[in-house]
Symmetry: C2
Subunit: 342 residues, 2 copies
């Protein structure tokens, strides 16, 4: 019998490590391949960035509560986020679309309206793609290019000991928004006469349904003359992203619970759902905020920015990745990011 | 009631026209967006090319006769073909993979072995991607970059009246190979004791299972100092590609039946299947050969090339797209390329 290893045994990142280990880059223009938010390609004057993401119905989205325009918007926005996470500017996207016969031309038009809105917001051009049928549901695969000056690119591997760790916006909202949407769906399925009660949760549901990539932060950092040393977008949860930065930079972290940014509606809704709000922040995914490190000397330039939070600092690798709680306990952080295969 | 238009009413190209008509390019670097084999991006010294293709299990491939390594090879090769069709050199790929729990790590490793072989053959670097679960079967979405000197790019819109139309290799084999594979599958399903009889059809089945992009032709044209004026790859069938060139260049064509390249095994197998061999050539897809136009003055440089066939010439748009049969009848060609939605 041939050996059969389940993908769930390795998980997404283990699988990627295993299948890509034998690939050797052959082109001089390939500067950085697998392993960051985007690949880095020597494109002449600036670096070209290339990234891609796939959204599969039944895995990444549920059209029973996700308006299809928002799905279109989100499919572009999450790709833009990967370019932002390299400190780059998004430029072009190509979109592959798989459609079952459940979808009408009008539904596809709405999907593209959402994409067009995102392309406008992020100044991105849709330049191609492939449209095909699918045996079950909707598949959206988007690839994106971006551009970044050679000396501005922010890699995951460049955190240095002593750097200040910054997070933008607030965290955990998209995750708790998903809990609200799932609950209201169950209520509706149990009794279709019941109308979903979403009015109480406008912020957290919007964060789940229509996330905005933080290109605004990229432009503001440039204006403030701050180059983030390392950067990643927070798509799988803060804990998971801290582990990526730690692993690739060979550092450890101290992160302070009382510095973690959380919106009041996120906090209150988490309490309502009997979920620890800090768990939402640490392990809830899909916020698409940015996590980055800066030199201590750059702190002064950013300290008054209303949307950048200084959540901790980088330390020696041996110290591990730690949360300092409100009552000054030091607790090791576990990576529990969202994994489709587990 | 909201209006519901079935996608099959518009077909793939009609759908693409409709959903992309409101997109306006905003970036200076976007030279050519939707509508050619690849997008053209101003990347500095050379043009950057960007293209993408998606393969969905049950629509584009059947793993009951497609070895999964070959699928990996094919997924890269068909993307390389799009770059070749711009007269470009392939550079980097990113791969999105959707996997149901039917697939083991070992199966995914074999898939990537095939991709690695193609990356080696075509000198392409795999630089990233996204791996996720899928509710049903395997989804492969590949995006590719390429590079072409600014004055060498071959667009679909540049055929001129009087140009000679060239096709590489031979046509129709992949389509008839698919018929063989489908027949043997039915035989096997009816009686699992029967072994598939493929030995008689090595060429046509290989053409279906493991197509090779014609980057060799691109390098040879450069060596022979011939710039193809317009170019497209033959993925949906010769007739369909002639229509694309005609529409985008505003020309018509005369194509000669006795000049169409067809392999003997393709011919014989078509006869065995009671299919007109010319139908295989005109309307069979997935050959991934190149169709291009050259100036008459370049004919001398190519006339001894064993793998380039001069199948016709471009004429006024009003004359339409025509096949000149062996007995000198002129028959209008109908586009009947493969459309997933019909």
């Amino acid at each position: 019998m041939e050996k059969r290893t389940e993908i769930s045994e390795l998980g997404e990142f283990g699988l990627i490590d295993r299948i890509t280990r034998d690939f050797v880059n052959k082109n001089e223009s390939t500067k950085i391949g697998v392993g960051d938010d985007a690949a880095v390609i020597d494109g002449g004057k600036d670096y070209l960035l290339l990234s891609t993401d796939m959204l599969v119905e039944g895995v990444h989205f549920d059209l029973s509560y996700m308006p299809i325009q928002h799905l279109g918007y989100k499919s572009i926005s999450i790709n833009v986020s990967d370019i932002a996470a390299m400190n780059g500017e998004p430029k072009q996207v190509v979109v592959n679309l798989g459609l079952s016969n459940r979808f009408s031309v009008e539904a596809v038009e709405k999907l593209y309206e959402g994409m067009a809105a995102a392309c406008k917001d992020f100044k991105v051009d849709l330049v191609g793609g492939d449209t095909t049928s699918s045996p079950s549901g909707l598949i959206l695969s988007v690839s994106i290019t971006g551009s970044v000056a050679r000396d501005k690119v922010a890699l995951r591997s460049k955190v240095e000991i002593g750097d200040i760790i910054c997070a933008t916006g607030d965290l955990g909202a998209a995750y708790i928004g998903l809990q609200v949407l799932e609950r209201e769906k169950q209520v509706f399925l149990a009794n279709p006469e019941m109308q979903p009660n979403l009015a109480k949760y406008p912020y957290v549901t919007e964060r789940q349904l229509k996330p905005k990539a933080r290109t605004d932060i990229i432009y503001e950092l440039a204006e403030l003359n701050v180059k983030p040393k390392a950067m990643i977008d927070i798509s799988d949860g803060l804990a998971s992203e801290l582990f990526h930065l730690a692993k690739q930079s060979g550092v450890g972290f101290f992160v302070y619970e009382d510095k973690l940014p959380i919106d009041k509606q996120t906090y209150d809704t988490a309490v309502e759902f009997n979920i620890d709000p800090i768990t939402c922040v640490m392990n809830g995914g899909e916020d698409y905020e940015l996590l980055f490190s800066i030199s201590q000397e750059d702190y002064e330039k950013l300290k008054n920015h209303p949307d950048i939070h200084f959540i901790g600092y980088a330390t020696e690798k041996e110290k591990g990745i730690n949360l300092v709680t409100k009552n000054q306990n030091v607790v090791p952080i576990k990576a529990q990011g969202w994994d489709h295969f587990r």
